[in-house]
């Protein structure tokens, strides 16, 4: 890292330390494309994430049409989706499976892992801990470009002959291992595995950087317990990534061996059209164990950054210190640690020992404790706060709502006994779309609305933000809440059609499914309000001030648009925790982290020494 000391001619100029100044004359390519600046990389992740979110949402609209309007003639769409239609103008059943698989993969990994962690960990970690950049800008750049490559491969896989992977985002073998099983398990699956391997490399490089930066590059005075909760959340997220993504790589590696080299890690005793395959001795359950050892922590990789973002926004916009800061930190760690010992709750009906099932039930239900602590602390922070309803604040409160209502259904699903009935029904779909899908998305939106001024130096339009929030919030509940009933009624997930059961019971819920599809497509369309607002505001938005939300954390001490190296002068020293809002005796209702106690004599408290 280059540190050049330039001695200015004027003696009264205080700024005497410039970092990275020698890079300021960068070419377009090193500045915007192969950039090593964490802020540019964050924006690259954000834009890529938005691109993928549109694709993922469009795919879900397509299969919602099939589910809600099973008899509709879609021939009008054939210029766009071409041979994905049957001659009758309906979505091909195998394409339907491909659609749900790609929707899951894209949303979980490309949007809510790369798009969320990649954006906000990159953007906020150096800014909030007071660092010039990430520990290794080069690895950071590499992380984005591995993600980019992985995106391209995944995107290509949508268009290959035979279609993209279609074994579900969990790609359980033998379905995913044998091309004879479904046409998507041919080339599409190969590309899926290749793309995900690149994705894992990208996620690991990112996580390495986040952890190292947080531990080693904090500014003077930024002790661990003075870090904003966002940083704690990103930190634990990165730890989860480092520990769990390699396991997915192992799982994928063995699957690649089975698919391409003829080994039998996951395959045994399989008959296709009466012919026995030669594979002997493998176990499909092994894949499930390996997959969910990643898969469950992955759920928290998706939600924790959102919870961190929300903590920060709720405290700022309630003008109150976050309630139970340490309890929040310990619950993030609690959730992170527990996430590694609950994976088998995804496998209750895979034939596991019932005793093991009850062990995993208990461990799963324990997660309710740190989660409830967090939910309680959010509400306690809001309680009697001086609430300012910015769009970011609304989305944060929306997240709390989803986190609670979606978390409650987790108590049912976590029970191995109840899960026998609910497993693989729409009840599960409803549960995780609310608690991790919608909640994480709301954290993402909240983060974009809140930090947009720091990213682009302009404000987003808040009226459009309010419209976006209310349509999305109500829309998401209208989509996912009815799915609970559909699930209890016995609708299995991933089914192409529910019209031919002739029981009368299943068919009686088809109109509810139609309603859900209406709501889903409406909610998807409403996201274009956000897109317009986002791109319009980048160029035409109202100019932002340095600290538009009157927030305490360090990123708001930078210039409106922080340049290379973030602070033009010295990095501010930190003297206090980030939540000194509405402190009794203080003139302003916020005291930024770098204001020393010596200048706030009126508001100092005896317990401040511990913050």
């Amino acid at each position: 890292m280059g540190v050049t000391k330039t001695i200015k001619a004027k003696p009264n100029v205080k700024i005497d330390e410039h970092h990275h100044d020698e890079h300021h004359d960068q070419s377009f390519i090193t500045k915007y494309i192969f950039s090593e600046d964490h802020k540019v990389i964050a924006k690259q992740f954000l834009i890529s994430g938005i691109f993928w979110a549109i694709i993922g949402g469009a795919l879900s609209s397509l299969f919602r049409i099939q589910l809600g309007f099973p008899d509709m003639d879609l021939t009008a769409l054939s210029p766009i989706i071409g041979n994905w239609l049957t001659p009758q103008g309906k979505i091909d059943p195998e394409v339907y499976l491909a659609l749900i698989t790609m929707h899951g993969t894209i949303m979980v990994f490309f949007v809510l892992t790369a798009g969320l962690s990649g954006t906000f960990s990159n953007f906020l970690i150096p800014l909030q801990i007071g660092a010039r950049d990430m520990a290794s800008g080069f690895l950071n750049m590499l992380s984005y470009w591995f993600f980019f490559l992985s995106s391209i491969v995944m995107f290509i896989s949508i268009f290959v002959e035979g279609g993209p992977a279609s074994g579900g985002w969990t790609i359980y073998p033998p379905l995913s291992a044998l091309p004879q099983a479904v046409s998507g398990s041919g080339m599409g699956m190969t590309l899926w595995l290749f793309s995900m391997s690149l994705f894992i490399v990208s996620a690991l490089l990112g996580s390495l950087n986040y952890i190292t930066t947080i531990i080693n590059l904090r500014t003077e005075g930024m002790t661990f317990f003075r870090m904003p909760l966002t940083i704690w959340a990103f930190f634990v997220t990165a730890i989860l990534g480092v520990l769990s993504f390699p396991v997915l790589l192992s799982a994928a590696l063995l699957l690649i061996m089975d698919r391409s080299f003829g080994t039998s890690f996951y395959l045994s005793d399989i008959y296709i059209a009466g012919e026995a395959l030669s594979n002997q001795g493998g176990s499909a359950i092994l894949f499930q164990h390996l997959f969910w050892f990643l898969g469950h922590p992955e759920v928290y990789i998706v939600i924790l950054p959102s919870l961190g973002i929300t903590s920060e926004i709720i405290a700022t916009c309630s003008r109150k210190p976050i309630f139970g800061y340490r309890a929040m930190v310990y619950s993030i760690f609690g959730i992170g640690a527990l996430s590694f010992v609950v994976w088998a709750h995804h496998m209750f009906i895979s034939g596991m020992n019932p005793f093991l099932g009850s062990v995993f039930t208990i461990l799963t239900l324990i997660i309710a404790v740190p989660s409830a602590i967090k939910a309680f602390n959010y509400i306690a922070t809001l309680w009697r706060g001086n609430i300012i309803f910015t769009p970011a604040m609304l989305f944060s409160i929306g997240l709390v709502s989803f986190f609670i209502s979606g978390g409650l259904t987790g108590l049912f699903l976590g029970n191995s006994v109840v899960d026998i009935n609910l497993h693989d029904t729409y009840f599960v779909v409803a549960h995780f779309h609310i608690v991790m899908g919608s909640a994480s998305f709301f954290g993402l939106f909240a983060g974009v609305y809140h930090w947009f001024p720091k990213m682009f130096g302009r404000m987003m339009n808040s009226t459009l933000g309010y419209i976006h929030f209310w349509v999305t919030f109500i829309g998401a509940y209208l989509v996912f809440f009815p799915l609970h009933y559909i699930g209890i009624a016995g609708y299995p997930r991933r089914y192409y059609s529910f019209t031919n059961f002739e029981t009368g019971r299943i068919e009686s819920f088809i109109d509810l499914n139609t309603f859900v599809s209406f709501a889903a497509i409406l909610t998807f369309v409403a996201q274009f309000i956000f897109l317009f607002n986002f791109f319009y505001s980048i160029y035409r938005g109202r100019r932002a001030s340095e600290n538009p939300w009157k927030s305490n954390t360090l990123e708001w001490t930078t210039p409106v648009e922080p340049g290379h190296g973030n602070w033009p002068g010295k990095i501010p020293k930190v003297t206090r925790w980030p939540y000194d809002y509405s402190k009794p005796g203080s003139k302003d209702d916020y005291i930024p982290q770098h204001i020393p106690f010596s200048s706030t004599k009126d508001s100092n408290m005896p317990e401040d020494e511990h913050r």
């Binding site: 290794s136 996580s207 390495l208 080693n216 480092v242 396991v247």
Partner: protein, 189 residues
């Protein structure tokens, strides 16, 4: 401003820190593969493999290589450039030798009727040693990189960071094979 208000932050060199986290994530690959292997060995219908004698030799070679690497580290610390480079070269050669012995070990396995394609009890041995070899190759490239730096006199007692990183990584890779070998040994007797 008093110092107690903004205490200094304890720091480790970020590069060395990255190497450590990198090693942790590599360990997770092997921990997951080994646990899969152990579960597989507990199931009926499997078989024990006679580990090839070459694996014993390769274990000795990889230990030797680690020793050379450490000696090169010591030599760099004392600014003894000649032995620094000789030991680096020796660790590189023994590293390549290790890969050769691993390959010969595979040949022996095939000769003994244990194939890559077949029952997972056999395939796992290939995957474990193969994935390890893959990582070892990355370690070799790291040594070549350090050797080039050593030739340019970029590595000396005041600039130890790269040789420290590569030595840590190299010991980790050697230790990893030791761990794999011992586990394979005890699950096949």
């Amino acid at each position: 401003m008093s110092n107690s208000e903004s205490p200094k932050i304890l720091r480790m060199n970020p590069r060395i820190f990255i190497v450590w986290i990198f090693m942790i994530s590599i360990s997770m690959i092997f921990v997951s593969l080994i646990s899969a292997y152990i579960v597989k060995k507990g199931e009926p219908g499997g078989f024990n493999v006679d580990l090839p004698t070459m694996f014993y030799y390769s274990t000795a070679v990889v230990i030797l290589s680690s020793i050379f690497k450490q000696l090169s580290y010591f030599a760099s610390k004392k600014d003894n450039f000649k032995s620094q480079k000789i030991y680096l070269l020796l660790s590189l050669i023994t590293g390549v030798l290790f890969l050769v012995t691993q390959y010969l070990g595979w040949v022996q396995l095939v000769g003994g009727g244990v194939y890559f394609v077949g029952h997972p009890d056999g395939s796992f041995i290939y995957v474990l040693s193969g994935v390890h070899a893959f990582h070892l190759i990355s370690g070799l490239f790291f040594i070549i990189y350090v050797f080039r730096k050593a030739v340019n006199l970029d590595i000396h007692s005041k600039s130890m960071i790269f040789i420290e990183m590569s030595t840590t990584y190299w010991h980790f890779l050697g230790g990893l094979w030791l761990y794999l070998f011992i586990t394979l040994y005890f699950y096949n007797i």
